[in-house]
Symmetry: C2
Subunit: 201 residues, 2 copies
């Protein structure tokens, strides 16, 4: 946004506070991560939580959607390294990362929006998948496709269905399990092994 062009004359007057800007974005992300809908997050609440005047928000963003969009752009999901020699090991890493990050603040934020707001804020949701979802899917897709190419997976494997089975299973556990028991530590292994080996004898 603000380009501190080196050597160029700075604008006169008090410079905008980076600290305030960060506090605003942090507050926004926090509230969404805590389960608030985009509709429910109010500019007033963000301002209060960030210890900032509303003016400071409106000076930077035109409205709520604009702010949320910027806040989301600041979320960069680190991908796990999928460079293990076997497909199984890479899949386990991927699933374990999913499980581990299901407690993460940013990840919860991502999940909440991706799952709930796609109908109400299609523009937001789309941009959002581009940033947070797509890279991960493509990494997993690549792992599976290489597995097919190398013969480690069956040649007639439907990669899309395989991805859905693996990630869908982990999502199922992390988001919709009935009880509140902690998930088993080896859940990623169990899902990977069972999907890879199948259910039939």
């Amino acid at each position: 946004m603000v380009t501190d062009q080196v050597g160029t004359a700075r604008t006169p007057g008090r410079p905008r506070s980076e600290k305030a800007e960060k506090a605003i974005i942090e507050a926004t992300i926090d509230m969404i991560a805590e389960g608030a809908t985009v509709s429910e997050v109010s500019i007033e609440a963000i301002a209060a939580r960030a210890g900032v005047g509303k003016t400071t928000i409106y000076r930077r963003w035109s409205g709520k959607e604009d702010l949320v969009l910027d806040a989301l752009a600041s979320l960069k999901a680190p991908l796990p390294a999928l460079d293990a020699p076997t497909v199984r090991e890479n899949v386990v890493r991927y699933l374990a990362a999913m499980q581990h990050e299901s407690h993460n603040r940013r990840t919860r934020c991502i999940m909440n929006i991706a799952m709930s707001e796609s109908e109400r804020f299609p523009h937001l949701a789309e941009r959002f998948r581009e940033i947070a979802i797509k890279p991960r899917r493509e990494a997993l897709r690549s792992v599976l496709q290489q597995g097919v190419a190398s013969g480690e997976l069956r040649p007639d494997t439907d990669v899309e269905v395989a991805m859905a089975s693996l990630t869908g299973a982990m999502l199922f556990f992390t988001k919709w399990r009935d009880n509140d028991d902690p998930l088993p530590a080896d859940l990623a292994d169990r899902i990977a092994d069972q999907v890879l080996s199948g259910l039939r004898p």
Copy 2:
């Protein structure tokens, strides 16, 4: 609520309109099915849509949450008949029903609440799983357990992981596919076959 005790003296005055009551519940369900959050559904909007005065609503329910709870209780999800001879066929029926009902009004309502509101309205979400989710899960669990007992599935099958892989995969397609292409008609078969057979050669 109202107990028309047979033989007992009816209360004097005009009886409450069943038609109005149904219209109110229908309106509530419709709005949630169309993607509205519980927070976003307003009593005023419900009254307007049902062609009813607000008084008529407050005379019956104490508030929004109370009303939504009753509305949800009226949703009875019909289970597909899982009496086919093979596990595969029963699984396909189950998944096909999921896919088919992903367009259904009531089902969308169920999904929206189960996925989005669990953190904000835990009481609501819990009662809700009891009504709508649990019976289905148990039906599928039973199918898989019988498959293990009969030897059609491996004896070391992890039934919970298997359920997650199957239903998670279908959910993945019906709720989070990237594009808007129609889903393949044989999606249920493909998921079932691949999860049953596994990915390995």
